[in-house]
């Protein structure tokens, strides 16, 4: 099976049409990388379960029709709805265009545009290169003190007709000793085809404490790829939770780099997938020194014809003694057409380490279903209660208080839809 290639010539023309600014050199360097390596295919080990064909097809159609950026004014209402549901100080990237009009200048937070300061570091990873090559502008945020409201980031896109592509790139630096709350909300609307690609870098300073929530609520059918790269400072702490509720083809890469001792990282992920969805979560934790701990728990509820992937990699490098790395992935399959590829990968090159991993794939517990039905609940009500219970642990651990209600209602609504899709 040969994957369609990205139209690199048309891509080059699109890159050259972008304004000449602080990002120009980076765009060219990224384009050269991309030209040399191309995008990953299912022959690459990290991509064997996820075919980027749809993303490439949308990109090529978008490039062929002039690679224009849609007007963002019609997104106003969707943005307002998100802002009304979570009380945060919002940075917005709409159709790839940075919008700071909803952000309130706050002591302790500095925001700069890449175009007015310095370009981001080129990651030399194909999708990050695509991101850097086509980037209009990005944001660099320094959090120097705790703030009353969480920092919010809305990445939202609209594809009304045809095909559209957008890039978002954000760097967040949390200063040493600082507490920070961050909410990332990815969403999209419109009947057209859309491909969104984001790169977020988070630097957690020494003894800093970061609580981070990610919500992906894109229109069913839209495509998202995204990389979150985290570096953990000495004695720092990160609590993170991600929720994948929408989208068509979704691929999230989370990389956590532990290069200094003493940090504690916990991250959860919940993915709810129904007909036609493909949600792939790839995580990688590099323990380069010890002691440090990382704990991840991903859970999925799948119904209809869908496929999900969880690939959790933890690498304990030579000398990273005192590492404690834990991975868990649990899946509930409500349909015989739902498919999960669950793959824990532990590579351990140090002696004094504690590592654990566990994956489960199961159906609803018949005994519990029967019990609930003998109490008068019908099959659908009972199913809904049990799936809800399966998700409840993670929903109960959302580390940013301002986002809890919204996440609860999003999860409830999505589960109700999923169960409507009649388990078969």
């Amino acid at each position: 099976m040969k994957q369609v290639a990205l139209s690199i010539n048309e891509l080059r023309e699109a890159v050259l049409r972008l304004p000449d600014d602080a990002l120009t050199a980076t765009r060219k360097a990224a384009l050269a990388n991309l030209d040399e390596h191309g995008l990953p295919t299912v022959r690459d080990e990290d991509w064997k379960y996820t075919d980027l064909g749809t993303a490439i097809d949308i990109s090529n159609r978008w490039l062929a029709t002039g690679a224009t950026t849609a007007d963002t004014s019609s997104l106003g209402k969707s943005i307002e709805t998100i802002m009304a549901s979570i009380d945060a100080n919002w940075l917005i990237i709409a159709n790839g265009i940075v919008d700071l009009t909803h952000f309130t200048a706050t002591q302790g937070i500095e925001v700069e545009r890449f175009s007015e300061s310095a370009a981001p570091f080129v990651m030399d990873r194909p999708l990050a290169d695509l991101n850097a090559a086509l980037l209009h502008d990005g944001l660099r945020v320094h959090i120097n003190a705790a703030t009353e409201k969480p920092l919010g980031l809305i990445v939202i896109d609209e594809a009304s007709t045809g095909a559209a592509v957008s890039q978002a790139s954000v760097e967040i630096m949390v200063s040493p000793g600082c507490d920070a709350e961050i909410v990332e909300y990815q969403s999209s609307v419109g009947e057209g085809d859309h491909y969104a690609n984001s790169v977020i870098a988070l630097q957690v300073g020494e003894a800093a404490l970061v609580n981070y929530v990610r919500i992906q609520d894109r229109r069913i059918g839209h495509v998202q790829t995204g990389r979150l790269s985290v570096s953990m400072g000495k004695d720092s702490q990160l609590k993170m939770a991600s929720f994948d509720l929408g989208g068509g083809l979704i691929r999230n890469d989370v990389d956590i780099e532990i290069g200094e001792p003493g940090s504690v990282t916990t991250f959860d992920g919940l993915y709810l997938a129904g007909d036609g969805q493909h949600i792939d979560n790839h995580t990688r934790v590099d323990h380069r020194v010890g002691p440090a701990s990382s704990t991840q728990e991903y859970r999925g509820i799948l119904n209809g014809r869908c496929r999900c992937v969880w690939n959790g990699k933890a690498i304990v490098h030579v000398g990273a003694d005192g590492t404690d790395a834990n991975q868990a992935n649990h899946n509930l399959l409500l349909s015989e057409h739902a498919e999960i590829d669950a793959k824990p990968e532990l590579e351990i090159y140090a002696d004094d380490v504690k590592c654990s991993h566990g994956t489960t794939v199961g159906q609803l517990d018949d005994t519990a279903l029967f019990y609930l039905r003998t109490r008068g609940l019908d099959k659908r009500q009972a199913t809904q209660l049990l799936t809800h219970a399966f998700a409840a642990d993670l929903v109960g651990r959302v580390p940013v208080a301002a986002a809890i209600d919204k996440i609860q209602s999003l999860v409830e609504a999505r589960l109700a839809d999923l169960i409507q899709e009649d388990a078969s």
Binding site: D365, T367, A368, F370, Y371, L372, R373, T374, R375, G376, L377, D378, K379, Q381, L385, L386, H388, A389, F390, A391, A392, D393
Partner: protein, 250 residues
């Protein structure tokens, strides 16, 4: 109220009930006793509608209706309650939420509106107090981390809130200490009434010291082999189940 005629049921290839007949009228308390494996729990699960138990012959009439035609939830809404021998732990499902959903499912079936949240909580707390249950159990996951005795009290709490017409309590006494046993018995006794029938399934006579049955039946190898009044339970306790088996096969 409940009329069981020549009921035969199997699970997989194993026939468990082999022509069981039983008649229970409103206002009566029946005790069904029998050795392990005699079919006591199977009878309870067949009446509640567990789909693993296939009924091969006979009928179960409830207020003249064929109970076997109804889904488990329909039986519940019609007023049939099964207190489980092993109540299921359902982490993540809030106990109060389930209680309320159950009460509302029944109310909806009767054409009534949803229960008032305040009244519901007040009533639940009252019932819990009389069962010696800590109100904090309302906000725990259903039976999650409950001890054996707490689980059984929780079953009785559900029964008290649902006010069934026909309650079948499967080994409700097993795993209870004497205080819990008394509390559970009190809960059951307070539900006794002219419109209600209670079927106690038990291995031991002990429970019947606290809940006095009108009738005692002995189940053996899937059939009721002997029926009598409460003195039968005492006789059984004294002579053991072998006595019944011998009597049945003689």
């Amino acid at each position: 109220m409940l009329e069981i005629n020549n009921l035969k049921s199997r699970i997989g290839d194993t026939e468990i009930l082999r022509g069981l007949s039983l008649s229970v009228n409103a206002g009566e308390v029946h005790a069904i006793m029998g050795p392990n494996g005699s079919g006591k729990s199977t009878l309870a699960l067949v009446i509640a509608g567990h789909e693993d138990y296939v009924v091969t012959d006979g009928e179960v009439l409830y207020n003249g209706k064929n109970l076997l035609d109804l889904e488990p939830e329909e039986r519940a809404r019609e007023g049939v309650f099964l207190g489980f021998q092993y109540p299921v732990e359902i982490p993540g499902v809030n106990n109060a939420y389930l209680l309320k959903a159950a009460v509302n499912a029944k109310r909806k079936h009767k054409g009534l509106g949803e229960v008032d949240a305040f009244e519901f909580l007040k009533l639940a707390r009252e019932k819990m107090a009389s069962l010696g249950m800590d109100p904090k159990f309302l906000n725990r996951g259903v039976n999650e981390g409950f001890s054996g005795g707490e689980k059984k009290r929780n079953e009785i709490l559900q029964m008290a809130m649902l006010e069934p017409s026909l309650a079948i309590l499967d080994e409700t006494d097993s795993g209870l200490d004497i205080d819990a046993l008394k509390a559970v018995a009190q809960g059951v006794n307070s539900l006794r009434g002219p419109d209600r029938a209670i079927v106690l399934i038990t291995h031991y006579q002990r429970l019947l010291d606290y809940i006095e049955p009108d009738f005692v039946h002995v189940l053996s190898e899937g059939r009721i082999v002997r029926s009598g009044d409460k003195t039968l339970a005492l006789e059984l306790e004294e002579k053991g189940y072998d006595w019944v088996r011998e009597a049945a096969s003689a």
